[in-house]
């Protein structure tokens, strides 16, 4: 019988990988989540603690999926602290996915926003020429660089890491590198996920050059199914209309890049 995607399925965490001191990947077996599309998410229940939306990370083994979580608030810290053998509940997948073009592609990821970028890389065609930008504050926060190179080993590709403090890779904000690249190259598709200001600048830069650009947004979510309204951005609901939106649509949304809603639904500026 096909699983109702709204019903929570209990999974056991089989492996935990420390990516950085504050980022971990938790691997578990689940056929449905192992094959989600890039940009889709699951609602993840940490019994007794909280439930939060998570982009579904790829696993190298078939039938397995993962979550890559940064320790931040109470919910994400709860997930970060889950040990091998512990139970988590998953429902989904929810949301839409990226419209992957062919040819010369630019992916821009920051932090755990790299998760849907990694999944997107599993869909690129052998002829695609792929540039991946990984932005981080500092060397000890860089992760998925080796994984990116590995996923693209059969493609013409470049992986560029930027750190704000210059302790690794190129020094500076990742968006300065985006500006340089879109000024010097044509891209058939630009895809981004990460901190909203990074996405906002990336979308602006790509759009100003007439490039096709999409971003996967994150908002506070309660239900994940379009009932509670917590994740609204202007008139869009990230859970039902997104998480992926076209750049031209986003630039016409007055909240994108500027504000998000808190738990009470009050707009707060970035």
């Amino acid at each position: 019988m096909q699983r109702n995607h709204n019903h929570t399925k209990i999974c056991i965490v089989e492996k935990v990988i420390d990516e950085t001191p504050t980022v971990r990947t938790l691997i578990f077996t689940d056929d449905v989540l192992s094959t989600v599309l890039p940009g889709q998410f699951a609602m993840v229940w940490i019994p007794g603690i909280n439930e939060l939306p998570m982009s579904v990370m790829i696993s190298q083994e078939s039938g397995k999926a993962a979550f890559t979580v940064r320790r931040h608030g109470s919910a994400s810290t709860g997930l970060f602290n889950v040990q091998v053998g512990q139970q988590i509940g998953v429902r989904g997948p929810y949301g839409n996915s990226f419209d992957l073009k062919q040819g010369k592609l630019l992916l821009v990821g920051g932090g755990t926003g790299l998760v849907p970028m990694m999944r997107l890389l599993t869909f690129v065609k052998p002829d695609d020429d792929v540039t991946v930008l990984i932005g981080a504050k500092s060397k000890n926060e860089v992760f998925f660089e080796d994984l990116t190179n590995n996923l693209l080993k059969n493609n013409t590709h470049r992986v560029i890491v930027t750190t704000d403090d210059g302790t690794y890779g190129e020094k500076g904000f990742v968006t300065s590198m985006v500006e340089k690249l879109v000024n010097e190259n044509h891209f058939d598709g630009v895809y981004t996920c990460g901190p909203e200001i990074m996405m906002y600048k990336t979308v602006q830069l790509a759009h100003s050059k007439g490039l096709f650009v999409q971003a996967s947004l994150e908002r506070m979510m309660k239900c994940g199914v379009g009932i509670c309204g917590s994740c609204c951005v202007g008139e869009d609901l990230v859970c039902r209309d997104g998480t992926v939106f076209n750049g031209d649509h986003l630039l016409s949304n007055k909240e994108f890049g500027h504000s998000h809603r808190n738990k009470a639904g009050i707009l707060e500026n970035y």
Binding site: T8, M43, W45, V225, I227, C228, G229, C232, G234, N262
Partner: protein, 303 residues
């Protein structure tokens, strides 16, 4: 002649009878505009309190096997003052302001916040089943209901609706108290107190343990309540509870509803559901030869 979907809930006139229920998607004016464009006759805000409320931690929603939802969002809302500021610019969308509080003074303070806003009606939440000291706990106390309704009626000329639910006091006593105090209409019903337990982890799923059951499992209970209220009282009714198709909507109108509200159906069928139901009602009216909604209200009571 094309039949008309215009309906009157007492003094409240709506272009279409299908409304957004309180608690659903109700925190952004942009979303309200979108819902109105999508076919909603009016939108009801989330229940607003005197101050902002964060609501409960997740999980706040559970999908019932076979249909329906149990939620304990916990009345999260930006607070009446913030919300009033947000809708001050609204001229187009008929907005019903849902209010939740414990004492008459809470409601009086909140109504004052909206003096510069275009408000179609106030809906008093006397029925949320999962937050202490408000909602259903207020609705279960008919004397308190009388005081609150009288206070709100004395504070505004805008029509006031009471939303009732199934608590420990017979809901008809709550309806009666509201009518005696001058209420303009009744919304029936709210979600019904319920819970869900996960057998693997052996614990309640919702963080609040208890929530409110909505959707198809409560449709026929809600329908019975609408029929009972309309049989006993001469008061306009808005039917709410498990409506997801045009047939459901027509059933509620035939039971005595002047309008209906949707909530769970949006989670199941998304925003298109407003237009789908409007079109279905129109086709039914054409087929049966009705020219306006009023001709159909309460027809099931004839036999």
């Amino acid at each position: 002649m094309e039949p008309s979907l215009v309906t009157s809930i007492g003094k409240i006139q709506l272009e279409r009878p299908v409304m957004l229920a309180s608690g659903i998607l109700g925190i952004s004016l942009d979303v309200f505009n979108r819902l109105y464009r999508s076919g909603a006759g009016a939108v009801v805000s989330k229940s607003l309190s005197t101050e902002p409320w964060d609501g409960y931690p997740n999980p706040t929603i559970f999908s019932v096997n076979g249909g329906g939802w149990i939620n304990a969002v916990g009345l999260s809302n930006p607070g009446a003052p913030n919300f009033a500021k947000m809708i001050e610019s609204n001229n187009d969308v008929p907005i019903v302001i849902s209010l939740v509080g414990s004492i008459p003074e809470d409601f009086e303070m909140m109504v004052k916040q909206f003096k510069n806003c275009k408000v179609t009606a106030y809906e008093l939440n006397l029925s949320c089943p999962h937050v202490a000291k408000v909602g259903l706990e207020v609705g279960d106390d008919p004397e308190l209901v009388k005081k609150i309704v009288s206070t709100v009626k004395n504070s505004t000329d805008v029509p006031v609706i009471a939303k009732v639910g199934l608590g420990t006091t017979h809901y008809l006593n709550t309806v009666n108290a509201a009518i005696e105090s001058g209420i303009d209409a009744i919304t029936a019903i709210n979600t019904i107190r319920a819970m869900a337990i996960d057998v693997e982890t052996q614990r309640p799923i919702l963080s609040n343990k208890f929530g409110g059951l909505s959707g198809t499992p409560i449709k026929h209970v809600a329908l019975r309540c609408v029929y009972e209220i309309s049989s006993k009282y001469n008061i306009p009714i808005i039917g709410c509870g498990g409506i997801s198709t045009w047939e459901d909507a027509v059933e509620f109108i035939l039971a005595g509803s002047s309008a209906i509200q949707l909530g769970s159906a949006i989670g199941d069928n998304w925003i298109h559901v407003f237009n789908d139901i409007n079109q279905g009602i129109l086709q039914y009216m054409k087929r049966k030869g009705y020219s306006n909604i009023n001709e159909m209200i309460g027809l099931a009571k004839k036999s």
